[in-house]
Symmetry: C2
Subunit: 124 residues, 2 copies
DNA sequence: TTGACACGAAACCAAAAGGTTTCATATACT
DNA sequence: AGTATATGAAACCTTTTGGTTTCGTGTCAA
């Protein structure tokens, strides 16, 4: 036994409930009971979703007294990001190309200058 | 009728077969039979996967004689990208923050200077 | 030490997902 | 005209998924 993940990240985020859980955990660590307040289903059901998120490393858990605090582990989304980056190459917009470059250089030799925007940015 | 999607993009990419199909279509338009050559399952099964990809707008189809050519529609992945960008905010690396900025400014007031890299980038 | 709370495991169930085979239809080839 | 190719629809089957309820265990508070 060991790291055979059983649930990959793509499966993990396929379910809307699980995506919403991830959003909730972005704010702060939460125990199961608190999380399940946000859903029209039993605590046990939410618990099962959390197990899947755990298996795919999207959350971690930490015991605190009689509670178990679940915490977002956003780094796990890197795999998804990487997968996406392959396709960005095909959608023909300069910004995406820039980002693709940044992705692959991974914090290499890149200078960035962000001007202090004293002008309101008009969208479009 | 109409755009009630039934299959969202998250579900669509949850299946490994469908992800592989997307990769194949990145190279070029292909008919079902050609695609199914790459998989240990029936053409009909692949056809069903394609229907799901169609429903989520990840591919489009174009009739050509007796064939139907399936084509990648990478823009559909924007939704995924957008979803991801929310979480990048939480993963603490400067590059990701940069990309988050780029994302939200949408080609706004940003100066980028990419030096001609005469030095090999050592991955740390 | 007794009771209340927080939690996951187990057994169960209905519906959805992912396959199969068979069949009908449209197009192309000769 | 007649045969071969390309495809999707239909009916069917099995496994997985997402939910339920019930129960046992650990922890905290009196």
């Amino acid at each position: 036994m060991s790291a055979a993940p059983k649930h990959d990240i793509f499966q993990a985020i396929a379910d809307p409930t699980r995506r919403k859980i991830l959003r909730l955990l972005a704010d702060k660590k939460l125990p199961v009971t608190a999380i399940s307040k946000h859903f029209p289903m039993s605590r046990t059901a939410v618990s099962k979703h959390l197990r899947i998120l755990l298996e795919s490393k999207l959350v971690s858990v930490e015991k605190s007294g009689r509670e178990k605090l679940y915490k977002l582990q956003p780094e796990a989304l890197l795999e998804l990001k990487h997968w996406l980056s392959f396709f960005e190459q095909f959608w023909d917009n300069k910004i995406s190309m820039l980002k693709h470059f940044v992705e692959n250089e991974e914090a290499g030799n890149l200078n960035l200058i962000i001007p202090k925007s004293n002008e309101e940015s008009k969208d479009s």
